[in-house]
Structures are given as C-alpha cells and as structure tokens.
C-alpha cells in the first residue's frame, strides 16, 4: 500500500543521524520532526533565523515573534538560538547544516530539482530553496511520485524551471526510496505492498532496479 504523507515523513526520519543539524522545508518535510528516532540528537534549523526548534505551542501560548520559515507559530527547545537571515544562510551556504529535506515538483536523474515555478501560473518565489539546494551536501526530496495529472515527477530531464542542478541525492515518495547516482535513478526500497512494476511504470526517468528490492520498514 502506498504511504501517506506521514509514512513518507517517517521513512525520511530514518535517514537522520546523530549530531546532525537539519533544515526541513514546508509541507511533508516539516512532519519529519515528529518522528526522530529515540536516542538521536538532531537539531532543526529554520532559515528565518532559528536553531533548536521545538513543537507547536499550546493553544493560547502562540508568540507572534516566534515562527518558522513556513510562518507557523512554534516553540524552542533548551539551547535554542535566534539569529539574522544572513547568519542563517551562512550556516546553510557554509555547509554547517548536514541534511536538507524539501518538496519538489520534478526531479531529474542527474539530480536536478524544480520546485518553485510553473510558467504561466502565479510565481510565489523561490524563498530559501535555491540557497538550500545549491549548498547542501545531503538533500532528500519528499514528494508524491506523480503529479495531480498522473504524470511522473521522476524524470529523465526536468521540464519546469530549475531550482538547482545536480544536487538531489535521494527521493522518498509514497511508493519508493530512490537514490540518484551516476546520472540514473536507483530503486532502493518499495513501500509495503507496492510492486516494483508499479514503481517502474510510474517512473519516467531511467530507473536501475536490482534483483531484490526490499520493502520499507516504517
């Protein structure tokens, strides 16, 4: 059965390593914070100027001065820090953040990502995404395998304007975990009960499929 958004977040949470600073994009990536494996010490950075984000506040304790990059009210953990936007992107550009998780409209087999603009439609802007993908050494894309029209988002080449080139290392969708390496997609895991055939049929790009593809353990 294909994963829901929570499942995708849970699977990505398994990628976390002790001691990592992590930047989570808006949407599914944000959910990853809820599933940090026990005993792992990771800190969440938000590009609007905070390190050490905690959960949402209790009702009535919202603070207008305390938001994340999605403009949601949040709280902080002990040891948190606030800083300005230049310092925040110094952390990102300077590779002090070990993992970036973000959503995408398209990913190509050489690791290009498109997630900010659809020609002819309203363009809201790239926010911090271009800085994040240009600098992060470890980028995981969290997204649905296909778009609403049923077309694959895992492509030989992106058709939409790019956010970054050759940067994505791994994609986690409702169907599969896919690694990007040597200009090709490599199927690592399939969602519980999802067949390799289904994944292959929904993947437009070149997908290397090993003899045995394990099921994800969520």
């Amino acid at each position: 059965m294909a994963l829901d958004k929570t499942g995708i977040a849970k699977r990505i949470a398994q990628e976390l390593q002790n001691g990592w600073y992590v930047n989570l994009g808006i949407g599914i990536p944000t959910l990853v914070a809820n599933y940090v494996p026990d005993g792992l010490d990771v800190e969440f950075q938000s590009e609007n100027g905070i390190l050490g984000m905690g959960p949402f506040p209790f009702e009535g304790e919202e603070d207008a001065d305390l938001i994340n990059a999605g403009k949601q009210t949040i709280t902080v953990k002990k040891g948190a820090v606030f800083f300005d936007s230049a310092t925040s992107f110094a952390m990102i550009r300077g590779k002090h953040v070990q993992l970036t998780v973000l959503g995408a409209m398209e990913v190509s087999q050489n690791g290009d990502i498109a997630n900010w603009k659809i020609p002819g439609k309203m363009v809201k802007g790239m926010g911090g995404a271009m800085d994040l993908v240009a600098s992060a050494e470890n980028i995981i894309v969290a997204m649905m395998h296909s778009n609403k029209a049923g077309e694959s988002k895992i492509l030989k080449e992106c058709t939409l304007p790019l956010t970054g080139v050759g940067c994505v290392k791994k994609v986690v969708t409702e169907l599969a975990v896919i690694e990007i390496k040597d200009g090709k997609f490599h199927l690592l895991e399939r969602a519980p009960g999802v067949s390799v055939e289904e994944i292959v049929s929904k993947t437009e790009g070149d997908l290397v499929v090993p003899d045995f593809v394990p099921e994800m353990v969520i």
Binding site: E59, F89, K124, G125, M130, D131, A134
Partner: protein, 232 residues
C-alpha cells in the same frame, strides 16, 4: 548621539516618490507596522520595495500594494497576497525574485561596502541569467551585487537613544542587514530606553547604522499561520 525623533511622521520625512526602500521582516513577523501605515498616509508612489515578502492583502506591505504605491518588489517569496498576484499578472507590478540567502547577503554586502560576491545559489537556474559564473573548488558560483536603499525601515524590540537595537526571537530576520544598508535607516521600536540601559555586549544593531529611532504607537503583531497543539 541622540537619534530619537518624536513620532512616525518625523521619522519618515524625506521619503519621496520613486525611492528605493528596504523593509525588514519575514512574513508578518518583525515588520515595521507603524512606518508602513505612515507610508500609506503619505501616499508616496512608484516605490521600489526590497523586502523578503510582500505581506498579506490587508496587512504589512499588502497595504501599499492595495493603494498601488509600489512599482517594483524585490523579494524572495511573495505568496499569500491576492492583490499582489493580480498586479503582477497584469503587469502593473514589476517583481524581481531573489534567493532568500542571496537577498540577505546582498543587503549585508550593501551595508558592509562589499560591492559583489560569489555564491552558488541559483547557478543553472534563471536567476543566473546574465550573471558571471566562476568555478571555485570545482563548483560553479554566480556573482551577485550589493543592494542598498534610500531608506531602510526596520522594526526592533528595544532601542536606545543612540539608535542601538535589539530584536526579539525570529522577529530579527532581515532587520539587521537592512539597517546596515540604508542611506538613512529608520528604526521603530516597541520600547525606547535611555543610552546605557542596554547591555553593550548584547546589541544586535549598533547605533552607527541607525539615523532615526522612534517608539511605535501600536504594534498589532498579527500572526500569519496560527499553529498550536492541544494540551493533554
């Protein structure tokens, strides 16, 4: 050096049609609310506004869009604003979209006398069009230039009479860099204290960057996305 002006009217003297303004804030967090209201009142037009976001329809920079005072927005993300969308799609409003980190660094550079710097952000995208590309450590970077403004308008939590500022939590965001990059920098603060009351070890924006400071009359501090969890 006393930087105090009596009120927002006095603070914004000199802002004219066609000028470039920087406005601090991220979403509706840490925006100079009082100064934005005053800009609406002044009716200055054809403004170029450098601000990470463009507010919402009825708050923040959205107010200046409603009154069509803005000719051009320089931002990283301009969602959550229907009037903005209408003006942009109709061509009434020019929009220059910049990666958020480049925007922050370009403002800092403007204030720090660095005319240009290389960054990897945007390489291989339309952001890089027309920009010099150079390889450093095997990786392509693009040359980005400094941003400055006729006036920078920032919002701080506390300020002293010398113009020294401190910000609260994530309401800091773009305010410190923009404060550096204004030819004239105006700070509106929630609390204005005498020089010497703020700890000199913990000033976010040294007063040298600030030309005018005033206590804002009212801060609504609207929340854009109220997300909460239930108590057990």
């Amino acid at each position: 050096m006393n930087k105090v002006v009596r009120n927002v009217d006095e603070a914004l003297v000199g802002i004219e049609d066609g000028m470039t303004l920087m406005l601090g804030g991220f979403g509706l967090c840490g925006i100079p609310e009082n100064s934005i209201s005053q800009l609406v009142k002044l009716g200055v037009k054809n403004l170029t506004c450098i601000s990470n976001n463009a507010g919402v329809d009825d708050f923040g920079l959205g107010l200046l869009l409603q009154t069509k005072q803005v000719k051009k927005m320089i931002s990283s993300y301009v969602g959550e604003n229907d009037e903005f969308e209408r003006q942009m799609l109709s061509g009434e409003l020019e929009v220059d979209l910049i990666p958020q980190g480049s925007l922050a660094e370009r403002c800092r550079a403007g204030g720090a006398g660095i005319p240009a710097f290389f960054t990897p952000a945007g390489y291989g995208t339309e952001v890089a069009e027309g920009k010099e590309v150079r390889i450093f450590n095997g990786k392509p970077h693009i040359l980005e230039s400094a941003l400055t403004a006729d006036f920078a308008i920032v919002k701080a939590w506390k300020g002293d009479t010398e113009g020294n500022l401190i910000y609260r939590e994530t309401a800091m965001n773009f305010n410190p860099m923009m404060a550096m990059a204004g030819k004239i920098t105006i700070a509106e603060v929630e609390e204005l204290v005498p020089a010497g009351e703020l700890d000199p070890n913990f000033i976010h924006t040294p007063g040298i960057f600030v030309q005018r400071i005033f206590k804002g009359e009212k801060f609504e501090k609207r929340i854009e996305q109220r997300t909460v969890r239930k108590r057990n």
